[in-house]
């Protein structure tokens, strides 16, 4: 059955299937934003989750679609990019939901960073919000006090967060399991208390009037007028954060597909075995920890410019908890899982405002239920396929040999 599916879907029918699937996925996600009624929305999500679970159960469909995607890679990428340009047009009437969508994409960046640590390498980090605070305050302070341009503040927010994560690295390296969780929680609380009580961060009042993003004279504070339609100024932020997210996702996906991904996975699965096989555990843990926190810091810096006002309540422990929940519920070590998890967990609490009071209670209960019944997340981790990595490695091994042979002939 699998074979037939593969055969059919790699022809022109496959193009249709690929584009159709992309469109369905896209509009299913957009429907979350567009549907007004709360119960309709819940129904949609229940159906969506059921379909996801079904897809995981029937291997034929999945491999068939996978084959179609690999056969029509260019078309799939172009189709996805075109679809991703649409949200500001679809949400032209509701700037607020565009803002929520921007937030969700921002969390994708942060959670991809966290996923590198937690999902790929198995390093617990419950201080995500604290690292976000480093990025946000760096960007805020540099643009307010030193008047740095936007590209510099974003870059600085990212790098300073990376530097600060080195401070925490020795405790992170020395501890494991519950103790590592405690170290990061303690760090999270320390950072929030310090930010509240130190003067240059503005204390509990926070930083106000952080300038909006401006790139080489192009201000993000103006609406985009396309003649037939005027997009809200948030459209600028959407396209920019989308670009950042795509870059970060590509970096993460490349890491996952490379030997680095395999190396850190061995650290996650069995540290002792990894060390006996010559994996430089401390080195890779440092690289991944700093890189992950850089992404978290980048999203923090973007956040500061997006809302223009940051204060300690934006970076409390609950935020770290949301980030970890996204990684676990979306699916560990899985870029697509993180994307889905961010959109659901950031958007739903906003959509569930009609049950205002009970929001957090339901959030807590859902978290428990999901973890008990689907501990591997919505898109579970798939065992890695080493085939192409191995062929690449083999060709690398044979290439120098061929060169040597050529050298001998010349000599």
């Amino acid at each position: 059955m699998t074979e037939i599916g593969k055969h059919k879907l790699s022809g022109p029918l496959g193009v249709l299937a690929v584009l159709l699937l992309e469109a369905v996925l896209f509009f299913a996600v957009m429907a979350i934003f567009l549907i007004e009624g709360g119960w309709v929305l819940i129904a949609e999500i229940v159906v969506g989750v059921a379909i996801l679970i079904l897809l995981n159960r029937i291997p034929g469909i999945k491999t068939g679609l996978k084959a179609a995607f690999t056969a029509h890679k260019t078309i799939a990428i172009i189709g996805a990019l075109v679809l991703l340009l649409l949200p500001p047009f679809l949400l032209v009437k509701s700037a607020y939901w565009l803002f929520v969508l921007i937030n969700a994409v921002m969390f994708i960046i942060a959670c991809l960073g966290l996923n590198l640590q937690l999902g790929s390498t198995g390093m617990m980090n419950l201080a995500g919000a604290a690292f976000m605070a480093f990025g946000a305050y760096t960007a805020g302070l540099l643009s307010l006090n030193a008047g740095w341009p936007s590209w510099a503040t974003l870059l600085a927010g990212m790098l300073v967060t990376g530097l600060f994560s080195i401070i925490l690295f020795i405790p992170v390296l020395k501890t494991k399991g519950h103790y590592l969780a405690l170290v990061t929680i303690a760090f999270q609380f320390m950072v929030v208390i310090l930010v509240e009580n130190v003067e240059f961060t503005g204390g509990p009042q926070g930083l106000k009037n952080i300038p909006y993003l401006t790139f080489f004279g192009y201000s993000f504070n103006e609406a985009i007028n396309l003649g037939f339609i005027t997009l809200h100024k948030y459209a600028n932020y959407y396209y920019f954060v989308l670009l950042l997210a795509i870059v970060v996702a590509l970096v993460c996906y490349r890491i996952y597909r490379s030997w680095v991904g395999v190396t850190v996975a061995t650290i996650r699965d069995d540290e002792v075995a990894a060390r006996t096989n010559g994996v430089r555990i401390n080195y890779w843990k440092l690289v991944i920890f700093v890189l992950g926190n850089c992404f978290i810091g980048l999203s923090g810096a973007f956040f500061a410019h997006l809302i223009g006002f940051i204060s300690p309540p934006n970076f409390v422990f609950d935020r770290s908890l949301v980030m970890v929940s996204i990684v676990i519920l979306g699916g560990m070590d899985n870029v697509f899982g993180i994307i889905l998890g961010s959109i659901l967990l950031i958007t739903l609490p906003e959509k569930l405002r009609f049950i205002q009071e009970y929001r957090f209670l339901i959030y807590g209960l859902l978290l428990i239920i999901m973890l008990i019944f689907k501990p591997k997340g919505l898109i579970p981790f798939v065992p890695r396929d080493y085939k192409d990595l191995l062929t690449k490695a083999k060709s690398k091994l044979t290439a120098p040999a061929a060169k040597n042979a050529g050298g001998e002939q010349n000599g």
Partner: protein, 307 residues
């Protein structure tokens, strides 16, 4: 007031705080010993204990009890029982299914449990989002030794704390239930084979842990005069830190760790030029240093993993 007297005065305050931390830490250490998991929702059992005592206070007023010793006894016993019932219920529903799951899952489930308990209190208790005033039931007044003020309240709270610790010590070390708990903590498979009722032992662990946390919650209310629905989160982190400083799995260590943490906070606030808001930063810093240099705590057993 001389420097030495100030240290004594601050130590008394630290001891009050430390006693509450210690009682919360006992729960962490018990759960870790028996179930091998950290219950991050435990801080919210502490908070629940305080609120259940307020519910009992209302009940006492309906029954016509005045602000006297009987009211206090009703509050303690009622709150301990109700909190324990909630704890056992949640443990059966949510914690036991994830007992063997990876640590990250149990961690998130217990954090989610904490959120659920906290939000339930906020929603169900009348005006639960506001701080609630706790009745003054302990005799007021004070006496001085030299220049050191000691309030009667302090002595009573200390006495209740010590009594609780002694009772816990007795239960763990001298009763059949206690030996079952210790047996499961050492080796649950072997304990089951020897006829220990595993499920009942878990229930009992949560009963003891939650009841002791409830006592801490009531003491907190009596000492500070008010409680709030969200005070459990930070208490959970402190209780966990205290049990780690003392050595996870060791009940006596948890008590030492709790008192150390309390003393550290108050003495740091008094002695170091960092401002009283930053006392917790100092305390957490010490915790992190502790984890680097003595990850097994003061009284913890030594384990190692080598290649």
């Amino acid at each position: 007031m001389s420097g030495f007297e100030m240290i004594i005065q601050q130590s008394i305050n630290g001891l009050m705080l430390g006693m509450m931390y210690a009682l919360v830490a006992v729960g962490f250490t018990l759960y870790f010993g028996v179930l091998d998991l950290i219950n991050f929702g435990h801080g919210d059992f502490f908070m629940l204990g305080g609120f259940m005592a307020l519910v009992m206070y209302m009940l006492g007023e309906v029954l016509g009890l005045g602000d006297n010793i009987f009211m206090l006894i009703l509050m303690f016993i009622g709150s301990m029982l109700l909190t324990a019932v909630v704890a056992i219920g949640t443990a059966r529903l949510a914690i036991k299914p994830v007992m063997k799951a990876p640590m990250i899952i149990s961690l998130l489930v217990t954090l989610g449990l904490g959120i659920a308990v906290r939000e339930s209190v906020r929603l169900l208790y009348p005006l639960g989002a506001n701080p609630q005033f706790f009745p003054t039931l302990l005799p007021q007044g004070d006496f001085t030794i030299g220049n050191v003020f000691i309030r009667y309240e302090n002595l009573i709270i200390l006495a209740i704390g010590i009594l609780t610790i002694l009772v816990v010590y007795y239960i763990i070390n001298r009763t059949k239930m206690g030996s079952a708990i210790r047996a499961v903590a050492q080796d649950d498979e072997a304990a089951k084979m020897m006829g220990v009722n595993f499920n009942r032992t878990i229930d009992m662990t949560f009963l003891i842990g939650a009841a002791v946390a409830a006592i801490a919650g009531i003491l907190f209310g009596l000492y500070y005069g008010r409680i709030q629905f969200n005070m459990g989160a930070i208490m959970g982190v402190i209780g966990f830190s205290a049990s780690v400083i003392g050595g996870l799995g060791n009940v006596f260590g948890a008590i030492v760790g709790g008192i150390l943490f309390g003393l550290m906070e108050t003495l740091a606030a008094a002695a170091l030029p960092i401002g009283s808001e930053n006392k917790r930063v100092f305390a957490f810093l010490v915790v992190i240093l502790f984890l680097i240099f003595r990850p097994n705590g003061i009284l913890g057993e030594k384990t190692s993993e080598r290649v």
